[in-house]
Symmetry: C2
Subunit: 178 residues, 2 copies
DNA sequence: AAGAATGCATGCAACACACATGTATCTCGA
DNA sequence: TCGAGATACATGTGTGTTGCATGCATTCTT
């Protein structure tokens, strides 16, 4: 048995990333009945933003401003969000409706369930090891805040452990930018 | 410091998968100047198939048959593939042109470069550990051959070590289906 | 108070994709 | 050898998602 090629790990990582992203997207869109970007928007609205504006949402999702407006149009038409007055007159807030929050929660659960099943073959110890390595890679991929889109869109804040300071990205961000 | 939540690993895995997929897609489309599915098609045509037919391509990419026909239209229009007679009169072969192969190779290199940089923070030992864990997860995600789309689309066969029998998916497939 | 900047909305267009259908070729049985 | 069914590719049509350019309202700066 000859040595594995140097790039095998890289290749496997790419395959896993693609496969996992596919499965999550499939589960999430099946569960919520809405498109991928709509799902990402709902997830973000459920978690990231206090009083989410259209503009902020466009940053999180990496969509253009007009694209985000259309997306919000669709979500509003489906009764998942409603537009309201923002903090000042120039902005519009986009809070979730009760139905929207329900869909968002379901979609997050579906995501975590898929991810959990992917981790199925690993022991507890191995998961811990994996978490460490993945955290380091994610930290390495960090960019300045507000660069393009959130690397963490679709993240589950509670699961991530961010409030308790367990999220490696959050910790790194604190260390870098205070 | 309280214990990390049980789902943290799952969440980190999801974040990494999304981030990696994003970066790869960005690099690949920047490099090749074509869409994501076009890039996947070029990669597949460069590697997976002996005498690729439209139908087979649609299976690999998980596109509908008509969608694949349009995709091939575009690729042909860009001079990246050319349609030719297939093995029998009913089929059409879609080999890469020289230009197409060049683009495909560049795109694969861009992909591996991104993945390699993601692995940057890890030591050699850690990469080895990661490869083992990722391989196990991928095997766990396997489905019957011909299910929907290839989990390995965009894979680099040489990097994967498939010819030498290093690819965990290939090994598992052999064990299962001979 | 005037001008610049910011944020949201809309007209318009492009792109990728799916569904339904049409057409050509192959396969198999009588 | 002929015809029925299967297979594979192509095309008409419609839809959903996105971006660009632009218009308009509000806020900030000087």
């Amino acid at each position: 048995m000859t040595a594995a090629p140097a790039d095998q790990t890289a290749n496997l990582l790419g395959a896993l990333a693609l496969a996992v992203t596919d499965r999550v997207a499939e589960a999430v869109t099946d569960r919520s009945g809405c498109s991928e970007s709509a799902a990402a928007a709902l997830s973000a609205l459920d978690q990231f933003l206090d009083r989410p504006s259209v503009d902020r949402l466009s940053q999180v999702l990496g969509l253009s401003q007009s694209g985000t407006v259309r997306l919000v149009d669709r979500l509003e038409q489906d009764g998942l969000v409603r537009r309201g007055p923002g903090v000042d007159g120039g902005t519009t807030a986009v809070p979730l409706t009760a139905a929207g929050r329900r869909v968002a929660r379901g979609l997050e659960a579906a995501r975590l369930q898929v991810l959990d099943s992917v981790l199925g073959p690993l022991t507890e110890d191995e998961r811990h090891t994996l978490a460490t390595l993945v955290g380091r890679m994610l930290v390495g991929m960090m960019r300045e805040p507000g660069a393009t889109r959130w690397t963490c869109r679709m993240c589950d804040l509670a699961a991530c452990g961010r409030p308790a300071g367990h999220c490696p990205l959050e910790r790194e961000a604190r260390a870098r930018y205070g």
